[in-house]
Symmetry: C2
Subunit: 265 residues, 2 copies
DNA sequence: ACGTCGATCTCGAAC
DNA sequence: GTTCGAGGTCGACGT
């Protein structure tokens, strides 16, 4: 190893490298788990769960320090080819090309790239401890409903969440209403369509047998997609408007209460 | 515009640019629809279908020529934040930071980035006309079965593909066996589990009423996930091993035949 | 390891 | 425009 880790710069960039240079940077960056960006003319072949080939063209290759691989074209949100993390690599500089193979050993999946021209190779040591927070997931809507069951209706009492129904899957929330009917709540963060109705119906069907009391199914979502109302009525199911925004407010309140309780102790 | 498109280089790279320089490169690259890579210390806020915040850290920002945006951390296949194509941008160089806003007007979604240090800005004009081909999708397995119905069984005759059953969805293939039973085939490219059984059963149930002849349901997949065999037997359904590889060979043959037929004309 | 489900899913096709 | 299903989905969580 010519360059010690301590002295390696945070970023390293070579324009128009030779294939040998590129291979050298790649190998060193992989072993020191840096993020690598290669831009150049390449073709890509994938073999695994399916097979794909991508003819010659200029693209961006990113290899991350966890061994994930992305091949991006000049357009499109999604990578044209990729490999999830924990890949193993083989790098070979040939006379007229650079050959990179990224393999996932257990899944028997390989991604193979041939570069016949490299515009640039960049390697970065990225320091990133920043916390990522996502607000108002379906999970958080569930928390909000558990904290404030009247979001479903007055007198609703949750009993269990994520009840395993075996075949049918998992209910989001099960509980009782004020008349002791069993209530199954299906939560959606986005407007609910017929697939949500089908899902809820599956849950109810798997519960209905052997049940001695009333059973209600409620979809809690910001809205129903059009055409879903009729289906819901046919199935004798119900809808409650529960918006992610409202849930966020409730969770924020709960957070505030937590803090105030802490201060009083 | 200081630099004409004709004279702009295929790749442009600035290390440790000032915020003004970075903003200038970004604006120019956006207007000329080049692919842009910015590496630096940033925080990211997203508001739209959900909300998210990402604290300071060093990341890779990619803006593509269709207006899609990717923010990648040093690990992980998926971008931590993103925006699909057709974004509109606002770029502002401030005293101590570069502010980038990528908005999707109709979806009311915005992604906001603040950089307080920029390691590099790179802009590329990528030429990429390469064709992408994915082999052995479920669609292609269907084609293979339609081309060679004996993949299902000797004497199987497909009648329709993608038959709409309304409520229940679409069958992959419907046909008849040698005893004139109606046969519904559900194709899976990956090992079939109980959800495939349920799906096939839905199709059969929606057909069974008013049917005067025998009805069979067959799952065509490379294999059954374990535990699925019993369910299949209980439901009186059947399984045929149909591998994507075999389908690929058949499609390749068909392709060959096409070519040979062409040569004979 | 397998199974299930959510996702700012994205993308495309059909209606 | 909306709806619907597929995806090399990925990733997380549970068994």
């Amino acid at each position: 190893m010519l360059m010690s880790d301590a002295r390696s710069p945070q970023s390293l960039s070579i324009k128009d490298p030779s294939f040998d240079e590129a291979a050298s940077v790649l190998r060193r960056s992989l072993s020191t788990r840096r993020l690598i960006i290669v831009v150049g003319n390449c073709r890509v072949d994938y073999e695994g769960r399916a097979n794909s080939s991508l003819d010659w063209g200029e693209r961006v290759l990113i290899v991350k320090k966890d061994g994930s691989v992305l091949v991006h074209r000049s357009s499109g949100y999604e990578p044209v080819n990729w490999q999830p993390s924990k890949c193993l690599f083989r790098i070979e500089a040939e006379k007229e090309s650079l050959h990179i193979v990224a393999a996932r050993p257990q899944q028997r999946e390989t991604l193979s790239l041939h570069f016949n021209r490299i515009l640039s190779v960049d390697s970065y040591e990225l320091s990133d401890r920043g916390e990522f927070n996502l607000y108002v997931s379906e999970e958080q809507m569930k928390e909000a409903i558990l904290a404030r069951p009247d979001l479903i209706e007055e007198g609703f009492r949750p009993i269990v969440s994520e009840k395993n129904l075996g075949e049918a899957g998992f209910t989001d929330i099960m509980g009782e209403d004020s008349s002791s009917n069993l209530v199954v709540v299906e939560i959606k963060r986005v407007p609910a369509g017929k697939e949500s109705v089908a899902q809820l119906n599956r849950y109810l069907n798997s519960i209905r047998k052997n049940l001695r009391r009333g059973l209600r199914g409620i979809i809690a979502a910001p809205e129903l997609r059009k055409g879903t109302q009729g289906l819901l009525a046919t199935m004798n199911l119900e809808f409650r408007e529960v918006s992610p925004q409202k849930c966020a407010e409730i969770l924020a309140q709960r957070q505030t209460r937590k803090i105030s309780e802490f201060l009083r102790e």
